[in-house]
Symmetry: C3
Subunit: 281 residues, 3 copies
Amino acid sequence: MPGVITFLTDFGQEDAYVAAMKGVTLGIAPAATLVDISHSVPAQDVLAAAYLLGIACPYFPRGTVHIAVVDPGVGTDRRALLLETPHALFLAPDNGALSYVVDAYLDEREKNVTVPPVLPPPLRLCSLPAALKAYALTHSQLFRQPVSQTFHGRDIFAPVAAHLANGLAPDAVGPRVEAVHAFVLPRPYAAGADTTVGAVMHVDHFGNLITNLSAADLPPGRVQIVIGGHRIPEVSVAYQHGGQLLAIIGSSGYLEIATKNGSAAELTGLGRWAEVTAHNA
Amino acid sequence: MPGVITFLTDFGQEDAYVAAMKGVTLGIAPAATLVDISHSVPAQDVLAAAYLLGIACPYFPRGTVHIAVVDPGVGTDRRALLLETPHALFLAPDNGALSYVVDAYLDEREKNVTVPPVLPPPLRLCSLPAALKAYALTHSQLFRQPVSQTFHGRDIFAPVAAHLANGLAPDAVGPRVEAVHAFVLPRPYAAGADTTVGAVMHVDHFGNLITNLSAADLPPGRVQIVIGGHRIPEVSVAYQHGGQLLAIIGSSGYLEIATKNGSAAELTGLGRWAEVTAHNA
Amino acid sequence: MPGVITFLTDFGQEDAYVAAMKGVTLGIAPAATLVDISHSVPAQDVLAAAYLLGIACPYFPRGTVHIAVVDPGVGTDRRALLLETPHALFLAPDNGALSYVVDAYLDEREKNVTVPPVLPPPLRLCSLPAALKAYALTHSQLFRQPVSQTFHGRDIFAPVAAHLANGLAPDAVGPRVEAVHAFVLPRPYAAGADTTVGAVMHVDHFGNLITNLSAADLPPGRVQIVIGGHRIPEVSVAYQHGGQLLAIIGSSGYLEIATKNGSAAELTGLGRWAEVTAHNA
């Protein structure tokens, strides 16, 4: 039975681009269930798409086919990829859109660092962890013909996704590739025994500042959070608790800075890449 | 056969929150049909969500499961509810989001008032009309584990909705509750024999000012509408009729103030809670 | 098996109007697949809806039922139409929303013109090409009752679409009509042997200026594009190529003016109906 296909793009809501992708998909896999992740990724912000894909994909059923098309390089020689994880299939240009998906399979030891990250994160070619396989989409008989120069979401990714949802074997899309482009994601780092330094990775619709500090990254005991000169005396357990600015472990397991009934981003003037520190209080 | 599950939130379009809810739902009820009501409810505006849910739900098939998550109190001890009506099932925090759904089952006599309403509407604990049953969501084996502190839409409401769509009996979600929180909705009131006073309940995408005056609330005979100092000499039957500012019975049966090819909200500077009066002309 | 039903409106994301249409549809055709084309058409901009519908519909499976509701004339005596093409079914008010769908079936010779178009395009009554059939929606037993004055999308178009998706014959909706309203679409015209003059038809989410010049309309050989005083020396094959302002054949086969990682509309200050010329360089 064809399963779920998700769509993540920077195409916005006002054009027919997403609809064209879905139409192509349904022509090949009429019984697939189509789900939007978001189409409001800032134009050409591949890293933002990578973040959303990484956050959303764990909640989808095994075997889901995810399409992520933020593709400023469409029409150049950038590759088109299929990434196969033990849980799902991912289709995207080879431009870093799969960074968070790949990162989830990296050995934890690779993530232990003691130096500040480079921000914004640079892109590099990255060998795949053993659990993952990637393929270049080259078998053009799977594509919609003719393939346009500007819209591979519709002409390549959508039809290949539909064929995969219909049961096509991943290795039927093209040759294996051993390395893919991924952003060097900023890691929290220890600054002394009692302090961990992280960064804001995403500002959500509510203005919550979502960091890369997980609960496990926080120093043991009572923790104080400092961000942009604001000191937050503890980690709360509900948005309605805490002071004007509060810290809480959010729904993806990461510390976020929020305000009660308001926008922390607006209140602090801070955004993506802002530094956040957690101290043993 | 699993049926329809709807989603109504204040999560916006730019994050992956709605997608995470849908992914969880499809993992449990893969054949359910998922429909968005809206995700553009103003942040934390429970009453706006309640209004949209009340307006939309009559048009869905019998047995539809509706999820409404505008949830500033997530993580506190506010209850999570299932409301069962003769037509559908509703899942929401116990914060007033079900006010209009409950209101549709109140005895008409309870709605006859002669005093101006308190605005914005206060929240109160409200006994359920006889036709309705409510349950507290407490049977945590139905939830996604671990349950986060900040996202019960994904961890509680979505999986419970999926189980209900699969045929789970409503009373399997937790114990009956006899009263739920509901907003005291503003009623039109008579101000003399020939005048009814109402209020704007919603401003729609077109800038139409939608009131709480139904056709039955209007005085008999030719009716004149007054709003914010504007006098509208009659009730029209099409947006293309009438003057610059016109009054018409809208698609939910309520009087709305509109302008031909423009926004009445912009033209008048009026919004939610603005007073509107209907006079026998 | 019920197939695909698409929805295109100017209803926006913040109300429950689209959801009400979908609810009605699912009550009649519970197994239909519902797809949004867009709900962000500028309010009452019928021509913009016509454009998007024309762009999107070729990518949907044969037999898809498309609903396009941008309907400032709702409640007046404007007709409601079903248009049957060899590929799909289209439901819309008779207000020009089907202009591009009809245009795709016009004899190419009718499109050869040598005079500048009238802009914005006027609406006229247009005889149907032989491949097409149209019907007036008059068989009210197919409608949701009572039919409101202001929302035929929910009360007429949605239930009729669902019945058609269930297999209802097109001629069961009402009597044949021989002519429908369509906009006189602007054609590219020759201005001498080496120059073709076109116009911008749409500005997309990225700020790309999409014209009505197809690859076939361009003069042979190397082509230079001029728009708003900007001279673009050639037609590129990728957004990453070319200069600050570039020209490229876009995903629907039409020349578009774009900028690398930015908005051409913003850069040039140009929009819909702006003149563009293609010269043999």
